[in-house]
């Protein structure tokens, strides 16, 4: 029952004790806070960097080139946009040197809306990220994947971007992370006592008691079918996975059978799984919360058209965020800017009724 935040902490602990992880750093990443979402709390090698995203990204690159592995955090993906040139630099080190150098490094950053974050705590980053060659990009939607994908990143010899869904940081897994206490209310409480820093009192000497964690790696590039179905495929990731699952469950009661794919890795993505599912259902909705113009879902849709245009049974669709300059703070604005359950339901109903 670890939350995503707890899963990340455990993965980082596993990394610094079993893998070659040397540094975890970023703004407010070290004590006392342990990260804006406390995802680095208790991690031994975590420290506070200067307030300087360009410095953080640059430092991560330099460490990686020196063979000194790090996981660096950009506090919110909203604040990663002053480092795009550096991400491009990171992505081309191996290629530019014709294979002589490689760059093991991981950048993690909370992404997306859903926390009433207004203009600058609601940004998505997938479109920009997937347009940068040379990175591998993962985006877990639950705690077990959060753990397994972070381990995969820490083993990867190339730059990896680990996107964390802001809206799900405290969501609890339905599956057990190898080593964590049992998935019971008692187990959850125990885990909290072990690795959550107390909110009250003098915590300057607090240390976590880590469960005996073991290796569990979700291979980069493998999606997951979270709901099998026959009539339509919904391809999504991160925050929208639980929402799509819920809509699928609800529509199933009316006999509409939706296959939900959690991409888990955005690049390189699991085209076998995606195309296989689309071939089966003939209908696909690419669902994400990013701005809909020059959106990564448009790439997936284009590739669908490239390879399956004449097989599709209905017009393939993108359901994405509105192309607004920001997510407005007021509730009605956020609800109207980012796909919600009702939008997904409507899109599914429409596509299953459509006959090519």
């Amino acid at each position: 029952m670890a939350s995503i935040v707890q899963a990340i902490r455990m993965a980082l602990h596993y990394g610094e004790t079993h893998l070659d992880l040397k540094e975890v750093f970023g703004e407010d990443v070290g004590p006392p806070l342990g990260g804006a979402f406390t995802a680095t709390q208790g991690v031994e090698c975590a420290w506070n960097s200067p307030l300087d995203e360009r410095g953080i990204m640059g430092a991560a690159i330099g460490m990686g080139l020196a063979g000194h592995r790090c996981v660096a955090e950009i506090q919110f993906s909203d604040y990663i946009y002053n480092t795009i040139d550096l991400m491009k630099v990171a992505g081309l080190q191996c290629w530019q040197s014709n294979g002589a150098w490689n760059l093991p490094m991981t950048i993690m950053t909370p992404t997306g809306s859903g926390i009433r974050g207004s203009i600058y705590h609601s940004h998505s980053f997938e479109a920009t990220a997937t347009h940068i060659p040379g990175w591998k990009i993962v985006y877990p939607s639950n705690s077990l994947d959060a753990y397994g994908l972070l381990l995969a990143c820490m083993k990867e010899p190339n730059p990896t971007l680990y996107l964390k869904p802001k809206a799900l940081m405290r969501a609890r897994a339905e599956e057990q992370i190898p080593g964590e206490p049992p998935l019971t209310p008692e187990g959850q409480k125990l885990l909290s006592q072990m690795i959550d820093k107390p909110v009250q009192g003098d915590t300057s000497k607090w240390k976590p008691k880590w469960p005996k964690l073991t290796d569990y790696t979700v291979p980069i590039g493998e999606g997951k079918i979270t709901r099998p179905g026959e009539h339509v495929t919904v391809v999504t990731y991160g925050r929208h996975v639980p929402i799509a699952n819920q809509v699928a469950d609800q529509l199933l009661q009316e006999g509409i059978s939706t296959e939900v794919i959690d991409m888990r890795t955005l690049w390189p993505y699991d085209w076998n799984m995606i195309s296989g599912s689309i071939r089966k259902t003939g209908r696909v909705i690419f669902l994400n919360e990013e701005l809909e113009v020059t959106n990564f879902g448009e790439h997936l849709l284009r590739r669908t058209v490239d390879e399956m245009f004449y097989e599709l049974e209905a017009r393939p669709r993108l359901l994405a965020g509105e192309f607004v300059p920001g997510i407005g703070l007021a509730d009605p604005l956020e609800m109207a800017s980012v796909p919600q359950a009702n939008h997904i339901e409507k899109a599914i109903r429409e596509i299953v009724q459509e006959r090519a």
């Binding site: 703004e27 407010d28 006392p32 806070l33 804006a36 506070n48 200067p50 307030l51 300087d52 995203e53 360009r54 410095g55 909203d78 604040y79 002053n82 009433r116 207004s118 203009i119 600058y120 705590h121 509105e322 192309f323 607004v324 300059p325 920001g326 407005g328 703070l329 007021a330 509730d331 009605p332 604005l333 609800m335 109207a336 800017s337």
Partner: protein, 349 residues
């Protein structure tokens, strides 16, 4: 539209033969009382905004409680108005106490806090303390740390070309100076080919969210970084009203006249922590209002009872305003594309 506040910045505010010398203050009593009034008003407003957050009527708070002794003297000396004859402000998110003496309607701050459609700064779109007042040259506060030090360069250039008395004022925090943008501001402001009439301010509260400044800063003072560019620079006690007032006065006189940059690092308190994300609870730091009130009382400029009554009155006023604003409507979902461009929506046309 010229501000009455601006005339306050004249040296006349210093009474050499009048009340000031008797009180031990260098500023005259009328101005002291006015400063105090604004400090209390600004504080009570911030405290009301925090209540609004704690009562779940707003999603997020951050603001400027603890910076009043510096911010109010700043606000009083700004040459307020629209256009290049006036000062242009590129502020960050702790500037409420500067805007209060400039004439901010506290109800408007509450509207933004409650993200109502009536919020005049952003129409319910932006976080609290993200002010934007076109009539006063207060450009929209943007959440991205330190980018205001870049955008301010452009205002500085416009001011340099325009001439006159108007200057550009930029503010930000201590931790943010680690962003390269802070250095860019110093580079551009100090170019021999076009020095810029800019008052560059850093309010140093010793923290960036949870990160203490000490282990992060190799420089003795942030002001040294400005000095490297031959920019006159001062570190001051921003918790002291008079020190702040005169430092700002001196700086502004220099910038307005010489049309060159000046740098102030003001050491200030952060009385409710970083923001509501860290709880917005009272911190054990020096309260500049307490300090000032003690001095005022001791000097006989104000009485304890009057000061208490003033705070009482503002507290009630803010509560009433907050209730009033509560009735106001939320923005309509159909408006999400409005004003993407001047007079245009922004999707595909």
């Amino acid at each position: 539209m010229s501000s009455p506040a601006a005339s306050m910045s004249k040296k006349a505010a210093v009474s050499s033969s009048g009340t000031a010398s008797k009180t031990g203050f260098r500023l005259d009593s009328k101005l002291l009382v006015k400063i105090h009034d604004n400090m209390v008003k600004a504080r009570v407003l911030e405290e009301r905004l925090i209540r609004v957050y704690k009562q779940n009527q707003g999603y997020f708070w951050l603001g400027g409680p603890g910076e009043e002794a510096f911010q109010v003297p700043l606000g009083l000396q700004i040459h307020k108005g629209m256009g290049l004859d006036h000062d242009i402000m590129h502020f960050h998110y702790r500037q409420g106490p500067t805007l209060v003496p400039m004439g901010l309607d506290p109800a408007d701050a509450m509207r933004q806090m409650k993200n109502t459609a009536t919020d005049p700064f952003s129409g319910g779109r932006n976080f609290a303390s993200h002010y934007s007042i076109k009539e006063w040259n207060v450009v929209p506060v943007t959440s991205t740390i330190e980018t205001q030090y870049l955008t301010a360069i452009g205002a500085g250039i416009a001011h340099a070309r325009h001439g006159g008395k108007g200057i550009t004022i930029v503010t930000g925090g201590d931790a943010g100076t680690a962003e390269g943008d802070f250095a860019s501001c110093l580079v551009w402001a100090s170019r021999p080919m076009l020095p810029l009439p800019m008052l560059i301010i850093v309010t140093n509260n010793g923290y960036g969210i949870s990160t203490a400044a000490g282990p992060q800063h190799g420089e003795k003072e942030i002001a040294d970084r400005a000095r490297a560019f031959q920019i006159p620079a001062k570190r001051i006690n921003g918790n002291d009203v008079e020190e702040s007032y005169f430092a700002i006065q001196e700086a502004m006189e220099y910038v307005r006249k010489e049309r060159k940059p000046y740098f102030i690092e003001a050491m200030v308190s952060r009385l409710y922590g970083h923001s509501s994300a860290s709880g917005a609870n009272w911190q054990n730091e020096l309260d500049p209002i307490v300090v000032f009130e003690e001095k005022l009382e001791k000097a006989g400029v104000m009485k304890r009872a009057d000061m208490d009554a003033l705070r009482e009155r503002y507290t009630q006023e803010m509560l009433d305003l907050s209730r009033k604003v509560q009735e106001e409507p939320m923005p309509d979902p159909s408006t999400i594309y409005d004003h993407t461009y001047v007079g245009q929506k922004g999707r595909y046309w």
